[in-house]
Amino acid sequence: MTDVLEVALRVALVLGVFLVLPLLVGQTEHKAMAHMQSRLGPMYAGGFHGWAQLVADGVKFAQKEDIVPTAADRVVFKLAPAVALIPYLIALVAIPLGPGVVAQDLDVGVFFVLAVMAVGVLGPLMGGWASANKFSLLGALRTAAQLMAYELPFILAAASVAMAAGTLSLVGIVEAWEPWWLIWQLPAAVVFFVAGLAELQRPPFDMPVADSEIIFGAFTEYTGLRFALFLLAEYAGIVVLCALTTVLFLGGWHGPYDDVLGWLWTLLKTMVLAFVVIWLRVSYPRLREDQLQRLAWQGLVPIALLQLALTGVVVVART
């Protein structure tokens, strides 16, 4: 009986994190982006500095009509947002918050998270194809091209840190982490973070949704709740990516008093990274398709390979 209770508690915790953190990131984006552009951002909803803006957005989305284009492939069209969102929820299961605070410590943690995140990208592909809209299709094509380019450096960078720690378990990696890895694994961290941004299609890698060229890419035809699910998937993706970067490269719960405050350090590092994501979005213009591909193949992949070689040499030298 206690087992069932514990599982239920863990699931509830993950669900809570999944529902709260993306909204927090979204609100931070609203406010930080506004101030970076000399604006105030939302100020009304909820009273104090518009804290309830995203709740209000959710209510608004729920009220909107759910439109499916006549020529669309209805089943695929309706399924796509769920396919985009649920993998991130599952990925959160394996991410440790503090020492012993993890929903499920998996032996293949890194691999699990990467595999599940890879499934999530099917969502935009399905939605883009099923919308029966040329802009959506273009968006889906760009998504696919971008994913194929950035999946490789993403996994190579994660492999580097897994090699350094000698385990694929996320908990094991955090336990093996030492501060000097910040320097040693820095290239891998940068590659991982940048490639992850590209996988999430966040600006400046938002070619697939480039609203000035192809309206909103794969999401053009979506309205109401389904559109909201896609947006939520984007922010959940930011949370997962930042948490994963924290766990892999920034030492997760390591920090002062980490046996008590470990969860706080993880959350803090995650939120700082999420802020960086927003910061990058505001600062840089969108990359062109050729720049995008060049960055992946001529920049990130060689760096990741060099890092992998360096990690291998250091690991072998230390043992």
Partner: protein, 188 residues
Amino acid sequence: MKIPGAGLAKGLTVTMRTMTKRSVTQQYPEVKPELPPRSRGVIALLEENCTVCMLCARECPDWCIYIDSHKETIPAPPGGRERQRNVLDRFDIDFSLCMYCGICIEVCPFDALFWSPEFEYSELDIRDLTHGKDRLGEWMATVPAPPAHDGHGVRPKEVDAALKALDKPARERPARKPAPGPESEDAG
């Protein structure tokens, strides 16, 4: 030497610096804007000063001032004769046409028109933007006092004349109090 990534870092600092500065957004409905003096919000009418000379209506570039009037005969005072005067029936300004050039105010010879800084008179129906003389008269309450004269500016002619008169020996002229310039009637 050019450090790789310097441009990227520069972009980041620009946004970060902007974030730490105060934003320029005006929270208009809660906080009223601080309008500069002589803001052109709406045109107010001081009906008593209007003589129906029609100058404003004629000078208006887009013909948005409509004036109707009739003549009225004032009964003769004892020993005098009858006089006629114009009575204003209608003085409308259509603010959906008005382009706030202010020419009507400039040309008014009798100071019947004034700029008021009030700007919150939007309407749901465009026809309601035509303000009658009552509405225009109500705006008079919002017309700010005329700004004080600039001490470094050229003095009005009247003041000079008065001062010159003051300089003359008192016996050459009958004693008269010189009016101080700024408070004179025509200052506004």
